[in-house]
Symmetry: D2
Subunit: 465 residues, 4 copies
Amino acid sequence: MCGLFGIWGDEAAADKTYLGLFAQQHRGQESAGLATTDGHRLQTHRGMGLLPEALPPEALRRLKNRAAIGHVRYSTTGSSNLANAQPLVVNCRGGEVAVAHNGNLVNSRALRDEMEARGSIFQTTTDSELVLHLMAHRNALQGDEAGLDACLARLEGAWSLLILMPGRLVGVRDPHGFRPLVLGRTESGARVLASETCALDQVGAALVREVEPGEVVTLDDGGLRSRRYAPATPRRCLFEHVYFARPDSVLFGDPVHEVRKLLGRRLAREHPVAADAVIAIPDSGNSAALGYSLESGIPLEVGFMRNHYVGRTFIQPSPDERSRSVDLKLNVIESSVQGKRVVVVDDSIIRGNTSRRRVARLRAAGAREVHMRISCPPTVSPCHYGIDFTSTTELIASTRSVEAIARVIGVDSLGYLSLEGMRSCVGGPQGSYCTACWTREYPVAVPQDLDRHALEARMSGRRPD
Amino acid sequence: MCGLFGIWGDEAAADKTYLGLFAQQHRGQESAGLATTDGHRLQTHRGMGLLPEALPPEALRRLKNRAAIGHVRYSTTGSSNLANAQPLVVNCRGGEVAVAHNGNLVNSRALRDEMEARGSIFQTTTDSELVLHLMAHRNALQGDEAGLDACLARLEGAWSLLILMPGRLVGVRDPHGFRPLVLGRTESGARVLASETCALDQVGAALVREVEPGEVVTLDDGGLRSRRYAPATPRRCLFEHVYFARPDSVLFGDPVHEVRKLLGRRLAREHPVAADAVIAIPDSGNSAALGYSLESGIPLEVGFMRNHYVGRTFIQPSPDERSRSVDLKLNVIESSVQGKRVVVVDDSIIRGNTSRRRVARLRAAGAREVHMRISCPPTVSPCHYGIDFTSTTELIASTRSVEAIARVIGVDSLGYLSLEGMRSCVGGPQGSYCTACWTREYPVAVPQDLDRHALEARMSGRRPD
Amino acid sequence: MCGLFGIWGDEAAADKTYLGLFAQQHRGQESAGLATTDGHRLQTHRGMGLLPEALPPEALRRLKNRAAIGHVRYSTTGSSNLANAQPLVVNCRGGEVAVAHNGNLVNSRALRDEMEARGSIFQTTTDSELVLHLMAHRNALQGDEAGLDACLARLEGAWSLLILMPGRLVGVRDPHGFRPLVLGRTESGARVLASETCALDQVGAALVREVEPGEVVTLDDGGLRSRRYAPATPRRCLFEHVYFARPDSVLFGDPVHEVRKLLGRRLAREHPVAADAVIAIPDSGNSAALGYSLESGIPLEVGFMRNHYVGRTFIQPSPDERSRSVDLKLNVIESSVQGKRVVVVDDSIIRGNTSRRRVARLRAAGAREVHMRISCPPTVSPCHYGIDFTSTTELIASTRSVEAIARVIGVDSLGYLSLEGMRSCVGGPQGSYCTACWTREYPVAVPQDLDRHALEARMSGRRPD
Amino acid sequence: MCGLFGIWGDEAAADKTYLGLFAQQHRGQESAGLATTDGHRLQTHRGMGLLPEALPPEALRRLKNRAAIGHVRYSTTGSSNLANAQPLVVNCRGGEVAVAHNGNLVNSRALRDEMEARGSIFQTTTDSELVLHLMAHRNALQGDEAGLDACLARLEGAWSLLILMPGRLVGVRDPHGFRPLVLGRTESGARVLASETCALDQVGAALVREVEPGEVVTLDDGGLRSRRYAPATPRRCLFEHVYFARPDSVLFGDPVHEVRKLLGRRLAREHPVAADAVIAIPDSGNSAALGYSLESGIPLEVGFMRNHYVGRTFIQPSPDERSRSVDLKLNVIESSVQGKRVVVVDDSIIRGNTSRRRVARLRAAGAREVHMRISCPPTVSPCHYGIDFTSTTELIASTRSVEAIARVIGVDSLGYLSLEGMRSCVGGPQGSYCTACWTREYPVAVPQDLDRHALEARMSGRRPD
């Protein structure tokens, strides 16, 4: 869960990267960073928090240059520190190099052990540092394409990478293309790389195409060069469409909002119900609720009011306030639900606690019936390719039937979209999407002991800054 | 534009006031403050910024007491400083007293001159300080009801006031009731006063009733006492319904979201148009757009994606980025509007610049026709009773016809809701609403030279903290 | 314990006031403030902490003007808040006015009660606000000299005042002249007022003379005017010479360092002892130790090394570290005292705890004998005129004989300078110094219940910012 | 210019290390850091600024453990950043390891090139990282003493090192012993390593002995082990005695304050002069001035008053204030010098600007004659072993005779202590001190192009945090 942005050949590279990251802030709120180059050296700034805090104006001014890469990072609290912020910038035989990474390597432990045995020292727990060690060791950073490809061949898992050196910017996507990466072009001709197309919109760039799974794209003053370092075997992340990406992005070729409306329409066909109003859980259920309403003919209604001031800086009031089922983020609009049979549409149920509380509040506000509809199948297994939700044991659907879940959250009926139903709403050939979190079928083998925190456990005490 | 909250008789008074203000953060983001009492003394904390910054946890812990009042304040930058934050707390003959005020006195200059001539010194430019001087001079703070009423009789304009003393909490609403003030009750029986009912929801309190125009409510350990210090001549602010209040509040007896849907429905009848989609300007046009869609049968669509990370802390990128018509807050969802005739619903047009830019972006995204519908009449005149929008000369409708405005903002058609249409959507007898910003008919005479910054101009250099 | 600085007729008035306060930072470290005028309005900035924090560069830039007054304030923690920082600036009948005050009024409670009975409201606990109320009520701020003098006649206690209005700067010293106030002149002819002459040195101004006890000095574009509003009955604070003032100041006509050397010389004559080295407690005992050494012929030695990084920002290590008699501020230089008979010179003993600990450390470092010499008589009674040391009960000398004190702090001998001895080291006619803290003879009657915190007790819960 | 502290076997290891660094804050004010271990993992915190800011209380609480090393760092602004703060902590084959370093390697460029050629990546410009790479590559961190010794054999220049691993703490001093490192023991038996003995005093530890040049000391739960990895060829830094160390430390076996008094006495014999007063430049000249006075019989006087509030946080007033020869740090005490012939004693003259300004101020205050005496020979050449003063071209003595310097700074006479004179004041055999900054005789060959900023120039754009 990270966002990438890179640009080559624009005098406002730092500002545009800031804007491109800003449009992708939903992909990571913990830290942000920027590396730029004037063609000779790299300059960098990284900071904790949202962009305005992490990259203050004076940093942007200092980093004014013609090329840049940037990164926003999400992480659980445990591993939250500045040392792990990206891009990581180092000096090595090939000169200075910066790397930003979105995804998760499943063989990082093995690679790390191997590098340590060779005498490497590790200062962070990020995959970015691992990639840099590999490339430095192979001397893959001086234009040696074979060397770089050999390094990439060592990686297993999910990676969209941006690599900045004084003379060029390289973008790489793993052969499965788990995480998105698109190529754009500004009006003045500068090339742009970004995780999502909403970042292109923000900087006034047009979408050119996806970077293909298994493709290496090199941007420099001579323009764009592309090559394939591995055959593409696409397993794009379908959960990006269901939940993670912004509705105004075009993802893997399909507009996200349209896909979600289709999910809602299909959901209405698979799980119809007699009701007076369709309401969304804002904002995750907005597009699917609209689709459900359009397909079913049941009027859309605004059932929950979102408090826009709830943010990461919010300071919790005393514990006994919290236990009073006070919901700081969403308040029910009583006039919208009183005396009505309502269909509540959301994108997923993780642990079920939040859903249960919200259903209770709808009933307290006078809803006569509450029917919940989810725009994907039950989530039963964790993601090992870069989406960080809870562990298997905490997933309510990993051990319970749909009926049992309906009882836990207190609804009159509960319907999940079928796998085929979901799959029919997106394009691409059969099998080109990863659906492991719903099916437990992992396209890339995962080591028995893999744990997102495995590396961190070894360095757990360290919080270098 | 301020929000008030007060509570008597709850051990968690400070925390509940924080939550009540939090639900009303939309009414003021510049500063916030809290005054509490243990029955003997007052304690207070005020700070700049949003609540988490203005009232940090350690302040709340220090202010733990059985009764409290709080305030969130909006102000233009010019007069922004901590000295003007509320509640204001002073020592006087009657002991300690704290005051929080929502509204705007139109005779503050005259009263101030009168008090200064008597030898009073003024440390702020707030109406709150003026009210305190009046009350201290009349010795109106020791339970002398006649004295307090005589002070209130001196005030002209709009005021909802909360006054906290060690022994009681007093709530007052002006005879016209311009600004809202409601009375609630928690499950454990504590009385609550708030500007909006969404604050009651947030603390788990039920709405009892409005404080009436011209009413004084006194809360103490003996319960609730009420008296009328002036006959009620209601002129409630209709713009609160159209724009300012939260959709989940019940305002002046009507649910805001329902009123706004009615405004949208009426707008669809007054200004119908053949179109493919109805889209809202989020979030101000959301409820009215839903009403327009329901009445017209034209499907609702999500045309704009809002970036939730745009906040007051956002640091602007370089000027030439801004001139590139980059909209940091709203991005068009191209798939929703491409090739379509769209009806765009909003609550008002102030200067027209933002509307023009957004219409242009809809057309750039491929909208075939753009029809704008506004859920109130043209705004032609400033508010002198507490809503701070721009000066007359900047209001696009103060000097232009509807046709001229349509040309300026570049729409195919433009329709404003009629005054009667708007009026028909809310309850209450004819004439009980203030509509001065649309009609120039001011219920309370305004001095020729009145200017929100008049007092401040006299003290302009001062920024005491 | 405060420092004042004012200047009229210098384009760099704000910067010079900053420098003048900086030289007087020892007189107050809690908060600082500045008020300036361009001849029409006042501008002000106040902040907590030392000068660089309280008055940041952007504040100085904003306050660039031709005239200014400034203030540094010391206070105990209890009453520490921004609202009490000075100068206080208000609006009243006479226009805008700023006041800064050094000293302590003994009749503030009575005056305050009187003003409150007239209907005044008080927002701070400072004497400055009281003075402003008096002057506003008497309308003494429009050039009415009789009115101002009548106000000053109401004050009892100690006050050096600076009053800034758009058209003039007024300096006042109480008839007893407890606190210092001097008049200087810069090379370009601008007039300067300051508590100590070291502030004149810092801004390149020459000392002209003391402002006399009972004198009012008015600076404006017409130059300097002086008048006497009360006959002078000087009772200058002798403790300023002994301890509080900077050694490089000329105070009440005498150079402080020279006075302190004389105190040390006299001490050597009154309390001679056979010893190997004279050492000072840095920095309070430095000058007197030098005098003792010169008079006695016993060589001066450096016995204690001061850690210059111990400041107000120091964060205490864990409690059990503190109990280990670790002295963060002073370390003994073992080679200076080992095997020696040492005379330790300091300016005073307040509670005795610190002295006892330091004597113990000298012995631990191998000192053979430790003789303590104090350059004033035993401190037996609190100051009510502006110096804030501990209450009577905590003063070790208020209830103990010199022999008993010597036993408590563990010295081989202890000698205090006699009153006559001390008095002989400064100029001026007999009786022109206040010596109340050594003699309990208070020149101005003190109300029975006077307590520095009396007013604050009434407003104790308030911490407005 | 750095300070080290380490401790093994004390429950309050973090607090004691904080105190030990606090006593050595004069050795580095730019950043500070701490690494501790519980026997299994390392924990670390590093921050910019003085200790209270760099290591806040919550960090100390989090780092509570039984063993720790700490570091304070000085650096020029150019290379100032958090990434370069120490201790540096990494993961490698040997597990976790932290390193803190005082000194300067002269072959760091060559070693770095060699490591990069092997594929290592560098994230900082510190010698500490280089040492870690060497040790990781040699696998020297798992108790392999031969491996560690082989690494140390590769280093050239000055290094006092502390290395912390979960199971032990290693202290190393280079064979020349340029920088100090001492071994101490607390009352409860815990072993302590520190740069200066004043740090031992601060934590209540007794000095055991110096760590010898060429010695490796290992502390673990089994106690202390020592071995020699290279023959000792001592070249201790004499400038530490003259200027850098604290007067209350015992350095290389001699008490610093006593050495400085001897320097002053010898200076009085080498350069006598008829005068009325000896004054020191505080605080650098204090001890030598005392010695000069004792030897010459000319009375010591306090000529300069130091403003203790001048610190690194001081914000400079406007430029034209500065040009007015205002000295923020030192003010002349006029009464001490007026009409007198004064001898001014200081430890060194670097560029001469400050000396010239101070001499001018003494004359302006009425000094009849000004004679300057310096307690070491003329400083003619830079230090390459860890003391960072200016480049050769800026050293006033590198191109000027003593007479020419006297004219530049405007004194009546100028005397520098002779090399032999200086050398006679410290112990140890002939040739056991490094005197390169006075003699240009560098004990360790320095590469032609050596420049403290060489490495940094290659990474100059980087400011990773």
